[in-house]
Amino acid sequence: MFFTAIDYWIFLEKAILILAVVSISLVIAMYATWAERKVAAVMQDRRGPNRAGPFGLFQPLADGVKLFMKEEIIPNVSAKFLFVMAPALAMITALMTSAVIPWGSSVHLFGRDISLQIADINIGILYIFGVISLGVYGIMIGGWASNNKFSLLAAIRGASQMISYELAMGLSLIAVLMMTGSLRLSVIVAQQSEGFFNWNIIYQPLGFLIFFICALAECNRTPFDLPEAENELNFGYHQEYSSMKLGFYLFAEYINMFISGVVMATLFFGGYDIPFVNEAAWGNHWWVALLGCGMLMTKALFFVFLFMWIRWTIPRFRYDQLMNVGWKKLIPLALINMVITAAVMLFFSK
């Protein structure tokens, strides 16, 4: 019988894992808002939030409560169903990417090998790209449904920006895929985990640079934050939103940041691999997996910090500059990188 052959524990295992990953992403996104303000403050010789709790650590909670308490306004002229759906869509797509990330090596608990990856699918990278391209719908539908010209302009900007930069992002990854020969994220991490010199960043620095710039654009972060350019578009696509719907948009941005940090760490920086040590020799203990997971988090959070650091350093690109960089610089560069990688690989017939 088919149904008796199913290992039912796997449902519980995956459910717990999904719950853990989602709640960790949410908590990290919450504290990313705090960190953003702290980083902004210290870079401008200020103190930042320091009133709510020690070091202002309860500030995100206070903000959350504030957003929940705010009056919820749905404009009369908006397309109501889409207006409500859009922030949820932004949130869902932001969270969905985490499903294929290998958060750590497998853990041996309760007599079972539990993989710290929700879904080890063989097209992991394609899945990530698919979900990321869905992310633009949150912005587009939100901007369109608001029935506001600024929101609509922002939505158009966001859509064209995301489409332009997705291309270069995909092309920069092809070089990595040629080296690893697999779209499965667990395989890509496993190939890098033998040591620091197996990390993809060593072989693909240009590829990483292109990927990183595109990740900034995909997350709508400065210098590519044109969809929400405060001084031009009054806040862009979420201008008409209030209360927790606005909160969802803001939250989704930080989750996107965190997830793209995780993706970059996974693809280029060895995922849960701890540099300079051979953790595989320590055995299959639960704490080794936990340590690896912590390492991945550290790498990802460093990227989050880098995103913030860049945001508080450089101004925004002009729209034509954005398009120029995307189409005329990054895409040719990614193609050249791809060709060179292919040629080198062919030369060494790896």
Partner: protein
């Protein structure tokens, strides 16, 4: 053409070099600057806990002064009200009765003395006009209030604490103005 000032600055219109065109190097330089600022001293003063010291000539809220025995100095002559460019001061004079000698310094006193803090521009001309050193501007800010009425300060709000009954508060209110006598 002769330049009017010596602050003339030629604009650099050289075409960008290759490194500059790459942007990345300059962005890295900018990031180094922001990173250095993380460790710089913060300019913020934690306001309610720490307060910035004002200059000794700072003009804050008005205070109606008393002499050393706690008698009110004001004689309701109205010179301050005349001097006030914002017309913020109103007062009503009254005659001192024989059993009020411990309260007022001279025969005439201000029965009602009001300053509209919404009109006051804190110029200090009232202090300069006063022949009796009865009014001076302290170092306190005008505190906030919920209504316009609350900004019309009565005598109770303006009078300095009694030097005998409440010496600590008196000394605190007097602050830097100890030199004033008579």
């Amino acid at each position: 053409m002769q330049a009017l000032t010596n602050r003339l600055k030629l604009v650099n219109r050289k075409p960008m070099t290759f490194v500059e065109k790459l942007y990345l190097w300059n962005i890295l330089k900018g990031m180094a600057i922001t990173f250095r600022h993380i460790f710089k001293r913060k300019a913020t003063i934690n306001y309610p806990e720490q307060k910035r010291t004002f200059s000794p000539v700072f003009r804050g809220l008005q205070v109606l002064n008393r002499d050393e025995e706690g008698k009110e100095r004001c004689t309701a002559c109205g010179l301050c009200a005349v001097a006030c460019p914002a017309e913020a001061i109103t007062m009503e004079a009254a005659e001192r009765s024989s059993n009020e000698t411990h309260l007022y310094r001279e025969e005439k006193f201000a029965a009602r003395f009001e300053i509209n803090m919404l009109r006051c521009i804190f110029c200090g001309l009232c202090e300069e006009a006063c022949p009796k050193n009865a009014i001076y501007l302290s170092q306190t800010f005008a505190p906030s209030n919920y209504s316009r009425k609350g900004f019309i300060y009565k005598k109770d709000d303006l009078l300095i604490p009694h030097p005998k009954e409440n010496p600590d508060a008196y000394a605190k209110a007097l602050g830097e103005r100890k030199k004033i006598t008579n």
